[in-house]
Structure formats: C-alpha cells, structure tokens
Symmetry: C2
Subunit: 149 residues, 2 copies
Amino acid sequence: MTQEQYSKYSFLLDRTARKVKQYAQQQFKSGDFDVTVDQWLVMKNLSENDALSQTELANLVFKDHPTLTRIIDLLCKKGYVERVPHPQDRRSFQLHLTETGVSKVVSLRPEIHNIREKAWENLSPNDFDEFKRILDTIYQNLNGESLEQ
Amino acid sequence: MTQEQYSKYSFLLDRTARKVKQYAQQQFKSGDFDVTVDQWLVMKNLSENDALSQTELANLVFKDHPTLTRIIDLLCKKGYVERVPHPQDRRSFQLHLTETGVSKVVSLRPEIHNIREKAWENLSPNDFDEFKRILDTIYQNLNGESLEQ
DNA sequence: TACCAATAGTTAGTGTGACAAATATATAAA
DNA sequence: TTTATATATTTGTCACACTAACTATTGGTA
C-alpha cells in the first residue's frame, strides 16, 4: 500500500458519508418532516434520555457545544424542545421534548428507519460487523490525540 | 438486524468521517499549511489535471458547483490558483495552479500523506479492500436515485 | 471572605454543503 | 433570424463544524 492511497480512502469515506446524509436529508424534505437529519438525531436522543444538559447531549451525539446550541435554538423555535433551568445549577439547562416534540418523534421514527435502510442494501450481516469494526478502529486511532500532546 | 441498527451505522459513519476531517484539519492548522483540507483536495486534483473547467473539477472532487466556486475564490485570493478564460467558450474558465500553487503542492504532499496515514493504523490490507468495497456499495445504493423518480 | 480555576453555555468568524434561482453564453430548432 | 433549450458559473439562503473568545456561575482554597 503506497502512501498515496491513504488520502484516497479518506476521500472515499468523506464522499460516502456526505452521500448518506444528503440522501436522508432529501427524503426528510420530500416527506415534509420539518426537521433536518441532525435535528432528528438530537430529538431522538432526547426522547431516550430526558432532562439532559447540553453538555451531556453534546457528548451523546458527538457534536461540539456551539453546534448543539444552534440546533437546540432551532428546535425550540419549532416548539419541539424546551430549555428548563436546572434547579441547582443556574449555568445549565435541562432539555426535554415538548408534547409536540414527543409526537413528532413517534410519527417520524418508522419512516426514518425505512430511509436509513436504503443505504445498507446488498450488504451482508458480516459486512456490517466488519464495517463497524473498521470505523471504530479509525475513530480510536485519531481520538485522544489531543491528550498526548 | 433490527431496523433500529441502520440509523446507528449511519451515525457511526458520519461520526468517523467528521473525526477524520477534523484530525486532518487540526494538523493542517498546526503545521501552518495555509489551506484547508478541502482546498488541498482541489489543489491536488489541479496539480494532476491542468486546465480543467470548474464543472470538470467539481465532478472529480464530488462537490457541487456553488461550493467549488467558493473554494476556487479563496484559492485565487491566496494566489494558488488562477482562472483563465476559455479560448472558445466565454462561459467557462480553465483553472490552473500558479507557480506558488505548484510549489505549495510539492511541499505539502509528503506531510499530508503522513497525516492521512494516522487514521489507518491497526488495519490490515484486507481491511482496506473490504472497507472500500462496502463504502462503494453504500454510495451506489444511494446514487442515481434521482434518475429513477 | 476573597480569590481563582473549572464548568455551562453563548456569540462571532470562517469554511463547507445543499439547494434554488439568476446571469451569461452557447447551441439547436423553427 | 428568432426562439428555445442547454450549459457554465455565480449569488443567496440556511444549516452544520470548528475555533476562539466571552459571560455567568460554581466550587475549592488561601
């Protein structure tokens, strides 16, 4: 394997990830879901874990704080999420889905599963295992680098 | 494999791709490369194919036209790329690297290979083949969908 | 108590990605 | 020639990623 190849694999990874996101976003749009792919990810996690702080949620979805702040802003505007002041710590909020937000998650969940399925056609169960193992290896190779410096 | 899993794999793919890009960008920054990861991709392709039009280049790097226009704008400002009017077609340009751009590519190429290599540690040659096959399968599953509608 | 470091979250700036619409030019058809 | 259609690029808008800088608050420590 020549060094040149490493850049090609990085490119391929980026290209495919963008395609997967773009495809999902197009389907979200044509289905009038009223949320983006990333907004959905946030709502889904909130539906499974109530009263998270923004920092806890950011760690769950692997987004940085400024990005999450804006996504939460948008979801609040849309009426799907509320920031509730933390009873003890005035710096932080407890996030939770509104009634509207909960029913949105319930109604979208099965549709989104169908959309996500499309990407994984023509792959075997073993392929999924391999794929996950390789992605995790790559992630770990690059993670924690900042601690070593 | 339950339906729920498909979303998890999509998430894992997105997370890893972002990590790979973020790691490279951090290294670019700490090395004072004066270009971003995507700007580098564009310059590398221009160094291998001179006098491309923006459309041809966009197809090579899988970016849409507005995105490429803005990346080229930035590279022109930095003095690495020039737009030369096409001799026959006044709508389009022939892109080429300036002298400065060429020497930038020459000097950065080996450093970037080292950076890219880091992501692929602890993986076997067979893993690379599998990874490429799976990524290509996913891409093809979602590509051309717009033609079928 | 007063100070100080750490933490939670926001804001600002830049770059990128996707999409729609606009402009200019080229090419083909009537 | 005029019209219609296609192509190349740009502009505008919204969303997301990352960095750096900032505010407010907390908690420990002198």
